[in-house]
């Protein structure tokens, strides 16, 4: 069976489009409660956490790169199937699919809570969630190439508005708020930074879409560009957020980046820019959420060796809506979502590491490739 079957009809992907697309997926959390959580964990040194996590994520990516080089850009689940058989591939497929749907469901809920809290207080949450999911299904249906093409339309506007918003926001801030420089201490910051390698756990998706790359160098370029873009945006946003809010405020602020944009005010000429930011934020989030849904369907299809991922999109979207309504309160959603990445980095980062070790210790190159 051709392991690339479940990627049939998705075409090939360029490294720039993929970087921006997966970068959006990684970055969705920054628009939610992530800057506040980083401040709670890292204090004034919170901006260093994404930087420290970046180094851990780069190591994981190089492990992915090594694996895909060895196995001619086969998907991680195909490699797992080759090593450990179909049953394990099936279980891992289910595990990753559930993980992506959990992430997607909680992100959906927090996104909807944001919309209700700030813009549409009278609108039922189900309307917001279902509208978003329908959009996500529509975007994901065309596969990764379609997603990446869509993000390439939004990216220039999105990046410009985000950069402007953060630059203007930063000019409202104060450099003193970044000190004391080491937050809760050097070792504390380092330890928390390593824990926050989970910020980049979505790069595991490279392991599943590897067959879509024409060449290995595109895969490598794309991964490194994704990480570089993500770390830049994470650090930039976090520095601006911390400059704008005294650390004790920053640790309690709801929807942090939105609050930054609400501060922008240059006399009467330039103010109330938040609606513009919300538009961009919603656009990038919808792509990010669609990538999440796509990832769930793709890993499920790869796990069960199905020829196409599309039939699973709608059932998984329904599951995602169900997950979104599990938390009774927005606080519960945020609480669970903040813990989830720490737990999920075990399978997300663990699988490539174990596969690499297995390939080095037990796999002989004469055995059939997946």
């Amino acid at each position: 069976m051709n392991p690339k079957n479940n990627l049939t009809g998705q075409g090939h992907i360029g490294w720039i489009e993929t970087s921006i697309c997966i970068g959006s997926f990684v970055h969705v959390k920054m628009f939610l409660a992530n800057p506040r959580e980083l401040c709670q964990m890292g204090g004034t040194a919170a901006w260093m956490l994404p930087l420290i996590g970046f180094f851990g994520a780069t190591i994981i990516f190089f492990i992915l790169n090594q694996l895909t080089t060895t196995f001619s850009r086969a998907s991680l689940l195909s490699i797992a199937g080759l090593f450990w058989g179909r049953a394990v591939q099936f279980i891992l497929g289910i595990l990753f699919s559930v993980s992506f749907i959990l992430i997607n469901g909680y992100q959906l809920r927090i996104f909807a809570e944001f919309v209700l809290t700030t813009l549409l207080p009278q609108t039922p949450i189900s309307t917001v969630v279902i509208s978003m999911v329908i959009l996500n299904v529509y975007l994901a249906f065309g596969g990764f190439e379609s997603l990446s093409r869509t993000i390439m339309i939004i990216a220039p506007i999105g990046l410009t508005v985000l950069t402007l918003a953060l630059t203007f926001g930063g000019s409202m801030g104060n450099i003193y708020n970044l000190s004391p420089w080491l937050g809760y201490g050097f070792w504390d910051t380092l330890g928390t930074g390593v824990l926050y390698t989970s910020l980049y756990e979505e790069i595991i998706l490279f392991g599943f879409i590897a067959p879509l790359f024409r060449e290995q160098k595109d895969f490598r370029r794309s991964g490194l560009a994704t990480l570089t873009l993500s770390v830049f945006l994470f650090v930039f946003a976090q520095v601006v957020y911390e400059m704008c809010f005294q650390i004790r405020s920053a640790q309690q602020m709801g929807f942090p980046l939105y609050q930054v944009t609400r501060l922008i005010r240059f006399e009467t000429f330039l103010q109330r820019l938040d609606p513009m930011f919300v538009f961009v934020w919603a656009s990038v989030s919808s792509i990010g959420l669609a990538v999440g849904l796509y990832s769930g369907a793709l890993t499920l299809a790869q796990g069960i060796r199905a020829p196409d991922f599309r039939p699973y999109l709608i059932p998984l979207a329904v599951l995602s809506i169900c997950v979104a309504f599990i938390p009774p309160r927005s606080l519960d959603a945020v609480q669970t979502y903040s813990i989830m990445p720490w737990l999920l980095q075990v399978p997300f980062f663990g699988l490539p590491v174990v596969l690499l070790l297995w390939s080095k210790l037990f796999y002989r190159s004469g055995e059939s490739h997946p």
Binding site: P121, T123, F141, G183, Y184, G185, Q246, T268
Partner: protein, 431 residues
């Protein structure tokens, strides 16, 4: 299959559009009552008076071909609701105002002095939580009385739009420096800093001008009566907390700042003190200063601008800090009342020296006053903050106690860069 799926998705997407904001969250301008300014006072029976000034949009612009209202009393209407909290007052006000009350255009929140002494943080919680309030709202404290007095008496000289009036006042404060105009965001950031205290501008109601107000217009009193009213007031305006000696104009005046510790009013500083505060806090940008000439008979005036931020260095002698403060100022000569010939390279240095002496004395006096109160609204710990490595180290500093025992030195670098459009005064006949 793909085409069919896309058609179905598109159908659902269009269907959900019908259900979007137009149905549940529509905001029709003609259904909204915009609150432009709000006041909070201590009322009877442990309740609060919440005063809301609601815009009458039709009167701001006026019907086609006609001008709008002549004053803010014609473009807005104040209502006062007594309740246990701001949210309760808002909900009760909804029952009396025919349109939905909306705070998205709120520009200022004024607290009465009594409630400011009790603490304003409990009343600011709603402003932080409820999305209609923006952190760019200004917060003022009424001097010697309830905020409601400010609402009832305010009569801007030119503006008929309350929002523009507030923005103009905020700009004016930066221009003359007799107060400071932090937004809610600035204030809350300062409150959250354990090693410093916050300030808010105080808005006073001038009793003379207030007595001149009749039916939304100010009718200045005769000169004799005016002189009787101001008799005995020998201090220059702004030096103390007393109302300015003046007649006509807006009864509201913005001189001085309220010092708040953990959100409670603990002291009020005059307009002159506010400028010194601004120099130390680095919020001062410019203003006209009047000094006595070295012989003490007359005055000279200088527009003093901040050349660059103050340098503050803290060194330690055991547990006792020593604070070295250096101010960097520059100026433009505005007048020499005495007509003496100071405007030469040697002579102008005498004026500079006189200004430096006066400023350093005032800085010295204000810091000592703050030390007595164990308050540091100047945020002098900022240099320690940037030298600290960990938050625990900085949090355990106990700065306000240590500041109260600190020794300090103050230096000011001041140059009168420009003499204006005339060189020497008339008394001097230079060749």
């Amino acid at each position: 299959m793909r085409l069919r799926f896309q058609k179905i998705s598109l159908f659902f997407a269009l269907l959900t559009l019908v259900l979007q904001t137009g149905c549940w969250d529509r905001n029709e301008l003609e259904n909204l009552a915009f609150v432009l300014t709000m006041g909070v006072d201590r009322s009877i029976d442990n309740q609060i008076d919440v005063i809301m000034r609601i815009a009458i949009p039709g009167n701001v612009a006026g019907p086609t071909g006609k001008t709008g209202g002549e004053s803010i009393s014609q473009t807005t209407k104040p209502i006062t609701i007594t309740a246990r909290s701001i949210p309760e007052a808002v909900s009760l006000a909804e029952a009396t105002v025919e349109r939905r009350i909306d705070f998205r255009h709120l520009r200022v929140l004024i607290f009465g002095e009594e409630i400011a002494k009790e603490g304003i943080l409990p009343h600011l919680d709603v402003l932080e939580r409820f999305p209609q309030f923006r952190r760019s709202v200004y917060v003022w404290v009424a001097k010697e009385g309830p905020a409601r007095n400010v609402f009832l008496t305010a009569e801007p000289v030119l503006e008929k739009s309350v929002s523009r009036y507030v923005d103009d006042v905020a700009r004016g404060v930066i221009r003359y420096g007799y107060s400071r105009m932090p937004t809610l965001h600035d204030f809350l950031n300062e409150v959250d800093n354990r090693q410093s205290d916050a300030v808010l501008p105080i808005v006073g109601v001038n009793p003379i001008v207030s007595s001149e107000k009749k039916d939304s217009s100010i009718k200045p009193m005769p000169t004799d009566k005016y002189h009787q009213e101001i008799a005995g007031n020998t201090e220059p305006g702004g030096k103390t907390l007393r109302a300015l000696p003046r007649s006509g104009g807006n009864p509201s005046e913005f001189l001085g700042i309220a010092v708040l510790q953990e959100g409670r009013l603990i002291d009020k500083w005059s307009g002159w003190d506010a400028r010194i505060y601004g120099l130390l806090r680095d919020s001062y940008r410019g203003g006209i200063w009047v000094f006595n000439t070295p012989n003490g008979n007359e005055t000279f005036s200088v527009i003093i601008r901040r050349a660059r931020g103050p340098s503050i260095t803290v060194t330690w002698d055991g547990d006792v800090p020593h604070i070295d403060i250096r101010l960097f100022l520059e100026g433009q000569l505005m007048n020499v009342q005495s007509q003496e010939s100071y405007v030469s390279t040697e002579g102008i240095a005498i004026l500079e020296s006189q200004a430096i002496n006066t400023i350093t004395k005032e800085v010295d006096a204000l810091i000592r006053r703050a030390q007595k109160e164990k308050t540091d609204p100047f945020y002098l710990a900022r240099s320690i903050q940037t030298q600290s490595l960990t938050m625990q180290e900085f949090d355990n500093l106990d700065w306000k106690n240590r500041f109260s025992n600190a020794s300090f030195t103050v230096q000011a670098d001041f140059k009168i860069r420009r003499p204006g459009l005339r060189i020497q005064s008339r008394s001097d006949e230079s060749r």
